[in-house]
């Protein structure tokens, strides 16, 4: 949970605070909690709200000029040839059994490693959108960027993540 929060908030102290608050919140309201099996899910839901609150409060402004860093652009370009078509060794292949991966602890370690490899801002945008399910407007306000900036960041995050997962998990998964 601390890892999850750290990725999102960008520093460990804020993350530990959020997790602690979530746990305290859970303890205080434990009377209102029913079944035991979903306890983790329940605490996670509280944590998600804490993080979203914290992010809304921060409203940090980012200079748009730092968004489109040359190095990022270059890294992305390696995927495609000069005409904008997939390089033959980078072309996405079929993934075997993505549903099964969700139940495999090893897969989640690979996923976390791939997430950590993303440039920080891309990771944050991706997590806000896909984990916390914030709206486009909320994310843009929070990061101080435009909608098209955000779309580019999400696009790059997806390109990188899918490539990382394919290289480290889904490749060679067939046949077993």
């Amino acid at each position: 949970m601390v890892k999850f929060a750290t990725l999102q908030l960008g520093d460990t102290h804020a993350a530990e605070d959020a997790v602690q608050e979530a746990l305290i919140g859970a303890m205080q309201n434990v009377g209102s909690f029913g079944g035991r099996s979903a306890f983790k899910t329940w605490v996670f839901a509280i944590l998600k709200n804490k993080i979203a609150d914290e992010l809304r409060r921060r409203q940090r402004l980012v200079e748009a000029s730092t968004l489109l860093q040359e190095s990022e652009e270059e890294a992305m370009l390696e995927l495609f040839d000069s005409r904008g078509f997939w390089q033959s060794d980078k072309r996405p292949r079929r993934w075997a059994d993505p549903e099964g991966a969700l139940h495999d602890a090893q897969f989640w370690r690979v996923f976390e490693a791939c997430l950590e490899r993303l440039p920080a801002r891309q990771a944050r945008a991706f997590i806000m959108r896909e984990f916390l399910e914030l709206t486009t407007q909320e994310i843009c306000t929070n990061l101080g960027i435009t909608v098209s900036n955000l779309n580019v960041m999400l696009y790059r995050a997806r390109l990188r993540l899918r490539e990382c997962l394919e290289n480290h998990w889904f490749q060679g998964g067939e046949g077993c």
């Binding site: 495609f80 495999d104 984990f131 999400l154």
Partner: protein, 69 residues
């Protein structure tokens, strides 16, 4: 005719907003002929599914599988 860079960009944006008719048509044409972009389109949907499962703590309930030799 779209290239793969533009096609994947549109596929990503389709997760964020409804595409315009023209965008949809040219994307469909491209994806029919391009297995790489077809796979990409499926995989970013899987990515969303993975991310949401993770946010719900699926990683904590997953079971370790036996390592291959």
């Amino acid at each position: 005719m779209l290239n793969c860079r533009k096609a994947t960009r549109l596929l990503s944006e389709a997760q964020e907003r409804p595409l315009k008719l023209g965008e949809k048509l040219s994307l469909k044409m491209h994806v029919l002929m391009c297995s790489g972009c077809r796979n990409f389109g499926e995989q970013i949907k899987v990515l969303r599914r993975i991310a949401r499962a993770y946010a719900e703590g699926a990683d904590e309930t997953a079971t370790p599988k036996e390592q291959e030799g």
